[in-house]
Amino acid sequence: MRPFQYARPDSLDHATQLTAPEDTMAIAGGTNLIDLMKLQVETPQELIDINRLTMGEIADTDDGGLRIGALATNTATAAHDRVRSDYPLLARAILAGATQQLRNKATTGGNLCQRTRCYYFTNIDQPCNKRDPGSGCGAIKGIARLHAILGTSNHCIATYPGDMAVAMAALDAQVLITREGEKERTVPVRDFHRLPGDTPEKDNVLEAGEIITGVTLPAPVEGKQIYRKVRERSSYAFALVSVAAVVAMTDGRISRANLAFGGIAHKPWHDPRLSELLVGETPSAAVFDKAADLLLEDAQGYGENDFKIPLTRRALAATLADATGVEL
């Protein structure tokens, strides 16, 4: 690990000042950042420990929603009474990720900002445009089992690896972001992560000196909530493909279908056309197939990850079947 200065701000204002320079980074649970610092993928000159700021609260919002503080641990969020009863999708997505030891440290803000698990990104001897812009992408034409099938560019085909944010995208949550001297801005989780384009070094819309203070969930809506995660082993593995769904039925027809997908893109993937297509339909295997056709219309495999295209189709069908009670 490269040497760094360690500082602990005593207020949020102070934290945004300290994290403004390019070479500084905030540290929360440390479960992603320390890992990457050991690999010298991240080499901050200064580490700003935000853990003692009071941002861990989980509280009801005035409009019936829930505000989850940036420092709330994944464990606390998944175990929270209202998350369990009103947003079970979120509890399930968190519990399907990592391990209890990791979730006890992992925070809302850190989980949103966790970096890709692309093997070239985490190995400093390999080319990677995300880690070292302009050095090339090792994964295109290389080992690409974990990689994206939607929204890729010829600079980067990495995936956002997390589960929590996929559930938050389906639930249409908002990320609260603050910077020195400015008032809090709000970004939908659906727009928080970026597509790689020609600047894959930027994972999300956070600017230097910006700190996530929390995430708000809108008031709960009616419908069945499901998180379906497909992975190499049944526990303690990142998603190959995951589907987060809030689906409601009225008089035998689909009346709501809020869907988001993990493991297939540089961000939790949300395609608003799916809801337009599905709402009003009587659920059936044929309808699910049409939704998959639309979702995957521009999907592209890179050899090793070609399997994700049929896998996504089947994971979507299985989730919708489960949500609507249709036998496949």
Binding site: Q5, I27, E46, A91, Q101
Partner: protein, 174 residues
């Protein structure tokens, strides 16, 4: 630049220790190298194996992915703090009785993890294996497997590890 003065020490197994000068020191290296508590093991150093599991303020964490300087004021329990050869904790005893190990390298992490895990079940915290999020949660083998998935055993002593944990869990329930 603010200079931090660590006036508050870290408490390990009820003994106060001053924090290290180099902020790079992981909690794991601090325990083993600076405090001489070598019961906690380093397997992967990247959060993937669980050999370094310790209990901090009642919660199990991977000590390899935490910096020691971030723990002033915290209370850490390691395998040495759970019990001694003369006075083992119920979990330590059960691992001995059920042969819950072969080489023993993963064992301190398994025992710390399992000890905290039973408390999580007692607190009705759900897992990925829980059928309902509303509880009550029973320490079934499925629950134990899922909740212990962060502790790998290269020797594959899993069957006996589960037997050991189940015995303590049943004792707790009784």
């Amino acid at each position: 630049m603010m200079k931090l003065e660590f006036i508050v020490p870290i408490t390990i197994n009820n003994t106060a220790h001053p924090l290290p000068d180099d902020p790079r020191t992981s909690l794991l290296d601090f325990l083993r190298r600076d405090c001489g508590l070598t019961g906690t093991k380093k397997g992967c150093d990247h959060g993937q194996c669980g050999a370094c599991t310790v209990i901090v303020n009642g919660q199990r964490i991977n000590s390899c992915l935490s910096l020691a300087v971030m723990h002033d004021g915290d209370s850490v329990t390691t395998i040495e703090g759970l019990g001694t050869p003369d006075a083992p904790s119920p979990m330590q005893k059960a691992f001995l009785e059920h042969d819950g190990f072969q080489c023993g390298y993963c064992t301190p992490g398994q025992i710390c993890s399992a000890t905290a895990m039973l408390q999580e079940i007692a607190n009705n915290m759900p897992s990925d294996a829980s059928e309902s999020l509303d509880g009550p949660i029973k320490p079934t083998p499925e629950e134990i497997r899922e909740r212990m998935s962060g502790n790998l055993c290269r020797c594959g002593a899993y069957a006996n590890i589960i037997a050991a944990i189940s015995e303590v869990a049943e004792g707790d329930a009784a």
